[in-house]
Symmetry: C3
Subunit: 399 residues, 3 copies
């Protein structure tokens, strides 16, 4: 990792005014300076923590989380990020709340925000819903702040929506940069975002979309690979194409997994549900047609089962550059013979890359903390230097 | 809002010794000085927070919450209050606990209190139960403290019982005072506590009772309005009558909603269940007669449906003083055409008062924090001045 | 309680290097110096807290808890211990997580530990499972720390496993020491660990085993009493025997409750399930034979019902030394006529010892905090003195 002073220097050179006081949803809404500032701030905060220097910027305050889907690692990542900045996490458990009593989004958003500095939301289940919900929350707290109801305007961190999974994609990017030895080394490298077979249906598209939407900005040769029928959202493909053009990289698509894996530097291989099926599911859900959803899910399982050969097997991995491409996954993976009879990846492949996979995950708390940090400071470089100068020990046991 | 130094001056002039080391249950147990001190302390704590001055009085410690009914805003209000004072919230989720194993109240109360500075309880479901439960908890922690088992005696904050909802009523009062421009302006103003139709049965009476029990202390003309059969507890009506006499205000009751709304300055309009039915429900519950409860609930729904004209409609609101009475509700409301086919309030009325309704809710965290604060300091005015002088920033990002 | 300076002196004299950077599972893995250091550190931390001196050694950081069985007092004890040291508790609720998606123990352990300083686990349901799970977690975080994935290696505190309940046993020991007026007074005292009838089946053996495994180290005359068929794990009995030999105490077993109670100084009387039945249950569970488990539980209830005379009755207690043995229980107890028709203890016995029982429980938060503390400091005596010298107030309201 770069030295702290170099990381701070990098942040100083960037225009982060678009992040200050704002929210972090899809990465493609953020300019290159902003993406870069998140990565450098994440690394700088990690460096401070490794040196046992406290990064608490809040004496008190709440980080509110709303998880509309089960979560372990994102939940803990958000909790970790809040904790290292000094915020207490207060989870809105919709089952324990009175939201069913006909509360509007604006109302809930305001009611949970009287002392909230941050709101983290995961809402990835229905196409067209998660992103829209988050924007409604943002509008709500803005209005309530402007009306003088909220003392402060909480900033939103998108912990996965139906289109993008920005904290995952940025943690993944940070991982790739560290593994390849610097952001400058990404240019020209081939990264494959490949579909893989899973015995479960309906996994979100947002990881795949997040990867093609972000990695195309760094001059990489990005290949999206999937069986016919597993298309992602065309809007996101458009973004990937434009990004690639602008960055001097490539974006292509194939239904041939072998072709995709050939000479790849990085393999990202996971299951997702077809965009069209997800749209249909959202419509059925809207009509309350739960029998229809069950039927659709059965069909999806049958469709999935036609593509059991789509997996990160040893054979497939041997096709990659020197047989040694960096294998990535957001975890948990469906590992053949371990967590699934047949799954996304061979057990031996998974085992060989275990440390890298865990390290990949380790960037997420810092990426989330960086997003929060940049939404709070007009001059984040100075703020980081101030923290270093303050030098409060995180733990006196580390003396 | 008054200046910080004036707020502190107001507190200095009050005798708050009855709050020091004590608990906060029904407002009618507290004298005028004590009620006043809560309001002024709430405003002073809010003022400090707005100026980014930390109000942490605890370096560590727990605020324990027990919610025996679903809750969003009260849960977040309690969490916010604890957080701004430096306490971590630990929720006693009775489903995850071993309480069913035949633990007594005294035992549980002690077991959760070894490091508790505060206990917040919501228990409003059964007439005669919530208040009694809280008093048993108080007795328990007192005894355990006196026996040297607990290092400190946690103070209890009543987050809604079967008779009163003190944090709601005091937040409401603080809101009225700010909207009317000062506590001195309440004298002679007409406030209506009106029943309203809701498609759900069995809403607690404690909000209505809290309002008539508190607002009668400020010389207001308090009118309780409801259809026949929706009487509240006679004991609380007695308190309202005596308060009105003493404060030079009025307390009256009517079954005519129009008469009530006429020339009103403040309209508080929400549904509740008839006291007698709630008593019957408690008895059925005591006998474990759940069929009986279901039957009673059906009857209540039928009874409710006879009074669908009881709602804060545009027509009704037009009868109020200049058609501009302050409309209040503890939220969430049953809004006609939005969260209910027919409900407590017209959508256009609700929309017009949205900002005021949210502001009303914003006082609750500070009221709870004030109750805790006053239970902890013998000289709260000095403590507030000390906090201002200490001048710790709540967030260094606000510099 | 001894003076702070004497407690610190005691710790100074002990070799605690085996605890530093380590984990706390069964007490019998720890040497006498280490057991002693836990007790003295617990008392020293309690003394600081009683003097309103902050014991926060962390500015931020997480204490992660995993409860695989319901819990009130252990949950609150862990939360309290973390809080007094400056850690925020983040609970891994396995129902809200994606662990079912086929995550391995190593994966979960790493994913929750990026900012964890401590992990507390309760897993006592199946013989041979809880302890094994904890050791797997420890191995996992060690490996991930060594691989540079985790910035710090969280230390594990065993909050009850299938063999031992170390935080309970040590809190119990601390209680006995205080009640008998010093550790030196334990020598020769008779303590009975007796089975008792309970209308529920399948209570863990770990409390009984924890008691005989620990109290035999202090020269006590330890008697295990139970009806035939309620044997504990033979391995733990072996440990008890060896401990007794080494400490100059005694370890014996009887199926005669009266004989056991005769002239006893301390009575610990609670229900547990037969070891063999628990083994069978684990096997059935392994096969997914839930009907078999139901059947076994029925059989156990019938078996239990043959021994309703095993209870801490007034008559039994009168057999103890001067009829005044210290009565102990980990709580909650099945109290005859109160929480059970027939149970583990007479209501009048329980009532007479209520204060002592609650005091017994009050040591647990401090014991847990001491375990954490000792895992973090190479020189815990110096660390304690530094905290006293720092003199930060825990609450400024206590001035």
């Amino acid at each position: 990792m770069a030295e702290f002073k170099d990381l701070v220097k990098n942040i100083e050179d960037k225009n982060t005014s678009g992040l200050y006081g704002g929210d972090f949803l899809q990465t493609w809404e953020k300019n290159d300076d902003e993406i870069d500032a998140v990565l450098n701030t994440a690394d700088a905060l990690r460096d401070l923590r490794e040196r046992n220097i406290s990064t608490k910027i809040f004496d008190s305050g709440l980080g509110v989380s709303i998880f509309r889907d089960n979560s372990t690692r994102t939940r803990f990542s958000f909790a970790s990020a809040c904790n290292m900045l000094g915020l207490a996490v207060q989870d809105l458990d919709e089952k324990k709340s009175q939201i069913s009593h006909g509360e509007t989004v604006r109302e809930t958003a305001t009611m949970i925000s009287f002392m909230a500095d941050v709101i983290g939301i995961r809402d990835d289940m229905y196409i067209g819903k998660g992103d829209a919900y988050m924007r409604e929350v943002i509008e709500s707290v803005k209005e309530s702040h402007e009306a003088g109801i909220l003392e402060q305007r909480p900033n939103l961190v998108d912990l996965q929506d139906d289109q993008d999974h920005p904290t995952q994609a940025l943690a993944d990017l940070d991982h790739i940069i560290h593994e390849l030895g610097g952001v400058e080394n990404l240019k020209g490298k081939k990264i494959v975002m490949s579909w893989a077979y899973s015995p479960s249906y309906g996994k979100p598209l947002s990881v795949a979309q997040g990867i093609i939407g972000l990695m195309t900005r760094f001059g990489m040769d990005v290949v999206l690979a999937h069986p016919e029928g597993y298309e992602v959202m065309p809007e996101v493909e458009e973004i990937a194409k434009k990004n690639a053009e602008k960055s001097g990289g490539k974006y292509s698509k194939t239904n041939d997994m072998k072709e995709a894996f050939k000479d790849a530097d990085v393999i990202y291989c996971k299951s997702w549900a077809p965009f069209k099926a997800m749209e249909e599911r959202t419509e059925l859900y809207g009509k309350g047609d739960f029998d229809g959803i069950d039927k659709l899910e059965e069909e999806l399982l049958v469709q999935n089962a036609n593509h059991k050969d789509w997996a990160a097997t040893e054979e497939m991995m041997s096709l990659t550059k020197d047989g040694k491409a960096l294998y990535m996954h957001p975890l948990p993976a469906d590992i053949t013979g371990v967590s699934a009879e047949e799954g996304e990846v061979d057990a031996s492949v998974f085992d060989r890359y275990r440390d890298e996979l865990y390290r990949e995950a380790s960037y997420k708390p810092y990426v989330i903390a960086a997003m929060i940090f940049l939404s709070k400071f007009q001059d984040p470089a100075k703020a980081l230097k101030d923290l270093e100068a303050r030098g409060t020990e995180r733990s006196i046991s580390k003396k």
